[in-house]
Structures are given as structure tokens and as C-alpha cells.
Subunit: 325 residues, 3 copies
């Protein structure tokens, strides 16, 4: 209970973004609406607005990342914030300074936001529990737990392509077990109220708890994709899997990889999504990834706008907020 | 003689900041006063002033550092300067380019300031001796020699907490021998004229020359702390110590670590300082580090303002300077 | 044919800068003239113009570099662009993402320019063939093929020092075989029409094709330098040489190193150039490198202005362009 509400202030406004779980439908819609207002910024000749001028955003990435790190950096710069990238490995942490001491120091330097990626589930929550009142924490992925900005940009993309959530059948395909992305997507799609939500995966890659979330589980790709409006492929997290949960990449592609053939059983106007980076010929064929139904690159574009929205909202300076005052 | 004056221009104004040694009382006070004018910037919604807009500050860190590097980067960005971080290890130096050639090149690129951290004592002086007339050098720590911006932010914090230096008894505790911080603090405190200046350390960690600086040496923690107004704990520089100068960390903490017990012999309103990062349960207990007498995080905050002051003064653009013209 | 024209748009204007080869004389002169207009920026108190404000420049360096990377970063910042440095090694590439997928993603993030350095000849061309219409590619050195901005800053420096190209005798000395710099210089000097162009190198370090380019080949340093107006020394690319093409560095310096003695056979007002970083006592003596005829550091300064010119021209926003509209 306390964990869920940690990200809201006393007035129920977003102070941190740690997880989709516990957000109300209207809160998610507010974020998507705010992101909508930032979409135009990427197309303007001068892609910069002064909303966070003089604010300092600190990227605390304990796990390697290019895409997510880059989109947060770009989003912050386009809001005119100063961006600090703390190199965790080669830094004072090695000298024996604990993580919390490092955070205390960054707070004392009048930083405003920590964007946290960490291999341990709950890391962003832990940090949010300990930061000073003027700091906002944004979870950029923690262990197998959550990746809320990814789920939000996915929702943004679905709404952009399909308009309404209510009539949709959405299939999430792949390594559900290890995927923080899937977990956040499931919470978002459930809250936004899609017609049917399916997960499609080998038995070894579905967590037992998933059926309690109102999700239909399929172990056959064709059955799972039949008449779907939205197909979300997950990245095969090779580096997270240990032991013999899967026979081979080739075998996986044969049974769960998305190809033109398997996509044909979905609705003719189904869209194909993937959080990236894609493993071609492992979870998706190049024909589909680069084909007309793919919205994978739109997801990337939308990711900037969604992160601009989250960053400006948690710092209480979103255009929507300003109006409301 | 030449070394001391290297940091002043013909009019006696600060051109480089290399060491506290040789600075006059009024020069130190001027820096503290200028820093005072920057303290407000950290509390403003827009933490940015255009004093160094269009200037290029180069961070040349030959030693790993997070905190000092980050504070210099933040200070420069809040003054609106462009900041270059030269990655010394993975860079052209390895290709055989000598340090001085690299500096020549950065000068030719119209950079304005080199912030230098180096493991060798005298490195910043050496660089200052060779730079072009339009370049300022700021020493961010050289070997065992000096760390002047740290000492200045410590003086700022003491003045902020205690008002006057004259009546104060100040105890510096720990590894005096290896500490560039202690060396710079001793020069600053002597110049600013405290009532009594003590160093407290095991015999093996006190340099012989220290008694010539007007400092009282104590080898017993309780004696050294008795009735002190200011207690400055040093970081135990484990990585700098070789051989068996110390029995063990546990033993060190037992005899020289600051705890609530040992702090009780100082004045009731004594403040506790530490340059960070702290080694909890080695030189200081968590109760004291996080307790009401600790001003450790204020030191970090003040570090931004003091570095903004130094950077703007050496480039001749401090607000105080502008007025004087 | 296609490769040469790839860098021009339908109106013959510069869209990418990939190679000097295929550029018309007037196009090179336009770049030099534009750079001329930026030279003043480096001397102004505020070294910043808003020409590329809101644009995002991505430095994609697959090879280690300090100087070139730094000058591109500085040039972009002085044009007020946002700069992203993608750390290629520690990034998603390792996770199996192909280069082209990474580029697609950066495009989707609304980046505007890729500055590419790569160990493979043709890498920048390959990238330029695949980028979206709104992206410009600047080659910052590809394998042994080309380093066009280096050649342009060299031409700028020659014109600055000598005024006209037509009457000049220019000698390029050193490892021609492995040098992308030499290749680009030869194309530039030939197009700009110098009186005589010489390459001076051991037989093992001259490519066979070079004589077809209208170049006179010398294997004796003194003969090659006789009455030269411009002497361009190349860096001995030790890391690129395998096997026993050269006896030893000492022997190389003895026969092909530029010293005061060997320079004496050139014209008395000959200028000495080097792309840096220099190997002192391998290809050049310190007396010459630091002597009155050396313009090596001017090359570095000019490099900022030339890169500002190229960056603003490929994005269609050079001051010269603006006027023409």
C-alpha cells in the first residue's frame, strides 16, 4: 500500500514515477495528454522549450543502456534542463561511499531529479523512500519489476494508432517472466481497460502470478495472435536467462518468433510493437520489424515526448499543470 | 616565492587558484564574499546565471573523482559555461601525445579554464606555468599538496555557522600526512586567524613539518577535541597508505574515530565537518555523521557556490569585480 | 559516381560531408569562406552563436579520438546545438543491436546530424546511404579512406598563411599509404590547383595508385622538400602498421623526420603543418614543431571554425546560405 502511493503527493499528484501499478486511469491519461502537447517539439526547427531551464537532472544508470539513457538525456535537454551523467562504476562508490551517501550529496548540490536504472527490483522505490522533499525519482527500469516510461510510451503509441483502448485485443509475446516491460504494460493495459489482454509465451517464461492479473495465457503463438489488434513482441533477455529454459534461439524463433505468416492470423490492421533493441530472427523477422504494420520507430519517437511529459509533470511544471493553477 | 605568486596577476588579482598558501586574508575573504552572492542561485527556481556564457571550462581529471568533478561541472553549468570533460585514459595521451601538447591544443581551441586534478603534487602549478595568457587554472587536488577549493568551502561553512574565525578552536583529526585537504585547511585557518589550531592523529600520520605552521599536535583524540568549536574529520586515504602505518580500521576507529562519546568533550555547539566521501565506522560513526552537529551536507552545498565564485573570479567576471571597475 | 554525388542534394548543395573527392573548386572555397566568418567567434568574449539552437548533433565515434571528437563537440556547442556522445563500446550494440538499427533509433529521436569516425573505409558513406532525408552525415575519418574536415582545415590554414594556392609547391611527408588525411589533402590540393604537389615517403609507405593523381613521388626527404612553400608532415600511424615496413622509429626519424636541417632546403618562408597528435622525434623534431615556421596550433584553432562551417552548411543554415535565399 505504502509502496504504491509513494509516487503521489498529498494532493494525489505525481511526484515520482516508479511504477504503473496503483496509478488511476485518469492519471495515465493525463500523462498521455501532456506528452501529446510535446509531440510537436520534435518537428519544430528549434526543438527546445525552456520548461526545465535551470533544473538539474541526474541520470543514475547502474545497468548499461544506450537507448533509454539517450532518450532521457534528449528529453531533459529539449526541456532545457542541465543533465548530469554519473558514471557509477568508475566513481566514488568504489571508494566505499554508499549509494545513499551519494544521493545525499547530489541532493545537497541542488539537483532536482534522479532518473534511476538498476538491476535490482525495487531500487527506484528504495531511493524514492529516502530522497529529500525537493527531489523527484523516475524509474528507468528496475530488475524484473517495472519500466513505467516504456509502458507509457507504448500506451501513447497504441492510442495514437488505434484511438480507443476499450475495443482492443492486445497480445504480449515472449519472455514475460523476466520482463519488467511486460509487467508495466500489463498494469497499464488493464487500467486503461482493453477488451482482452493476452500473454503468449512458452510455459517456462510465464510467471505463475500472471493469471491473477486478468490476463489470458497462451502457449501457442497462432492461437495467441488470432484477431489481435496490437501485437507487442518482447526482447529475448538472453543475458538474464540462466540454465536451459529455452532450447535454442533458432527453435525459439520457429515457435514464438513473429513472421509474416504468424502475423497473418492477427487483424489485417494490427500494429506490431517492440521495446527494442530488437533481436532480428530471434523474436521477430526483419520483414515484420521493417514492414508496414510495424510502429517500432514511432515508439522511439514517442518515447521522447512521453519522457518530457513525465519529467515536467513530476517537477510540477507541465503545461497542463500551469494552466490549472 | 615564484610558485606562490604564480596565481596572482600583476595587479595582485586572482588569475589561477592553485593553493591557499600565499593568499592574503583579504583575498580569501573576497572569495567567501563572492560565494555568498551565489548561495541564492541554488535556491532559485531557475538555477542559472549567464556570467560565463560562451566560456569553455575543461575538466582535466587524471584521478578518479565523482563528487569534486560533479560540483565543478555543476558550478560551470550554473554559470552558463560550456563544459568539456576530457577522458584522460582512453584519449590521445595514450597515442603518445604529451600532456603539454594536449594543453596547447586545448588552448588553440579557445578554451578558457583548466580544472585539474592529478595524483602528483605540483601538477596544477606545472600546468599553470605553461598555459597561454588567456587561460586560468584551478587546482582540484594535486597529490598530497593542496585542494584549495575544498579548504575554501570549509572556511565558508565555518563562517556561515560560527560568524567569526578569531575566537575559534579548530581540530583537524585523522590522516594529516597524506591529506592535501588538511594542508590547505591549515593554511586557510592560519591566515584567517583562528584562536587555536590543532591536528589530532597517530604519530605515524603527522608530517614532521607541521609544527612549524603554528599548529598544536595531539596524539590523543579526547585531549585534541576538548572544548573545540569546529571538528574537521579527514577521510582515511586507504588507497594512499602503504605498509603498516595503521593497525586496522577497527583499531583506528576505536582510538581516532569520532563518536558521540568523543564528540561530547568538544563544545556543546561544536560543528562536525568532513570533506567526504565518509568511511562510516572508520573515521566517523553514523550517529555523528548524520547527527545534529554535522554540517557535512552543507559543505557539499556550499561547494557549488564557492566553485562558482572561484571560476568567475579567475575569469575576471565576478559580480564583485564588475562593480569595482 | 553515385558515391561521389551522395554528399550533394538535387541542387548541388552540400548535404553530407563524406569526402573531398568529387567536390568542385567553388564548393571547397565556399566552405573556406564560411569558416572565415566563424573565425571571429573564437575571439569574442561570448563564443556562442544560435545558428543550430535546438538541433541535436550525435558523435558516433567507433575509434578512439580526443582531438577530433573535442573539436566537433566544441564546434557544435558554439553553434548552440545539443551534443550527444554515444558510447559505442559499452552500449546496446553489445546487446546485439545492429548499427543500422541504432541509426534508425537516433533518427526516430529527431537527431539532425551524425558525426562518424570508424576504422573501416567507407563507413560514413554506408551510413549516409541509409539515413533518413532529414539527417546529415559528416565523416570524421573512415579507415584509410578520407578525413575531409582535416583536409579542409589544412586548406584554410594554407590560404590564411599564403593567400593563393596557384603558385605553391606543397610536400606531404610520411606514411602516405595508411593516411586518410593524405588522401583527402591530395584531392583538396589538386582541386584547388597548386603548382606542384609532392609526396615524400619510403617506398613501402606509398600506395601504387598515387602517381595517377598528378602527384610527384619522392623517396628522399631533401629532394622532396627543396623549395617547398608548404611542408605537411603526417603522423606515423604506428598502431596501423603491421610487420616490418619500417626499420625503427629512430631510423625513420633519421631519414624522414623533419628537423631544422632538412627544413632549411625548403623556401625560407615555408610553413610546417601536422594534423596532430605529433610524435616528437619520430616524424618531427621539437625545434621545428615549436618553431617559427610551424602553424600546427593554428591548424587546431582553424579546425573549430571549419567544423562550424561544415556543420551549419550541411544543415542548410550557414550565414552564406541565408543570404542567398
Amino acid at each position: 500500500m505504502r509502496r504504491r502511493n509513494l509516487q503521489l503527493d498529498a494532493q494525489g499528484r505525481l511526484r515520482h514515477l516508479l511504477t504503473i501499478e496503483g496509478l488511476k486511469r485518469q492519471q495515465i491519461v493525463d500523462i498521455l495528454d501532456t506528452a501529446e502537447s510535446f509531440i510537436g517539439v520534435g518537428d519544430q526547427p528549434v526543438r527546445k522549450i525552456p520548461l526545465l531551464r535551470g533544473k538539474t537532472v541526474v541520470n543514475l544508470f547502474f545497468e548499461a543502456s544506450t537507448r533509454t539513457l539517450t532518450t532521457f538525456e534528449l528529453a531533459a535537454k529539449r526541456l532545457s534542463a542541465d543533465v548530469l551523467k554519473i558514471n557509477i562504476n568508475t566513481s566514488a562508490t568504489v571508494k566505499g561511499e554508499s549509494l545513499l551517501d551519494m544521493l545525499r550529496n547530489l541532493e545537497a548540490m541542488h539537483c532536482d531529479m534522479f532518473v534511476v536504472r538498476h538491476g535490482d527490483s525495487g531500487a527506484a522505490h528504495l531511493i524514492a523512500q529516502h530522497v529529500a522533499p525537493h527531489i523527484s525519482v523516475v524509474n528507468a527500469g528496475d530488475g524484473r519489476h517495472a519500466h513505467p516510461t516504456q509502458a507509457l510510451l507504448d500506451m501513447f503509441t497504441i492510442r495514437q494508432q488505434k484511438g480507443e483502448f476499450a475495443p482492443l485485443t492486445v497480445a504480449i509475446v515472449g519472455d514475460i517472466l523476466h520482463s519488467r516491460v511486460a509487467r508495466s504494460q500489463i498494469h497499464a493495459l488493464t487500467t486503461l481497460g482493453v477488451s482482452e489482454l493476452r500473454v503468449v509465451a512458452p510455459r517456462t517464461l510465464v510467471p505463475e502470478a500472471v493469471s491473477g492479473l486478468g490476463v489470458h495465457v497462451f502457449h501457442d503463438l497462432h492461437e495467441g495472435l488470432r484477431d489481435a489488434d496490437v501485437v507487442i513482441m518482447l526482447r529475448l533477455q538472453k543475458e538474464r536467462m540462466q540454465g536451459a529454459m529455452l532450447p535454442s534461439e533458432h527453435e525459439y524463433f520457429h515457435t514464438f518468433g513473429l513472421t509474416e505468416d504468424s502475423l497473418a492470423v492477427a487483424k489485417p490492421d494490427a500494429i506490431v510493437m517492440h521495446p527494442g533493441p530488437i533481436n532480428r530472427c530471434v523474436e521477430i523477422s526483419s520483414e515484420v520489424a521493417d514492414g508496414p504494420q510495424s510502429v517500432i520507430l514511432q515508439q522511439v519517437s514517442n518515447g521522447i515526448a512521453v519522457r518530457m511529459a513525465v519529467m515536467s509533470m513530476v517537477l510540477g511544471r507541465a503545461p497542463v499543470d500551469e494552466e490549472a493553477r
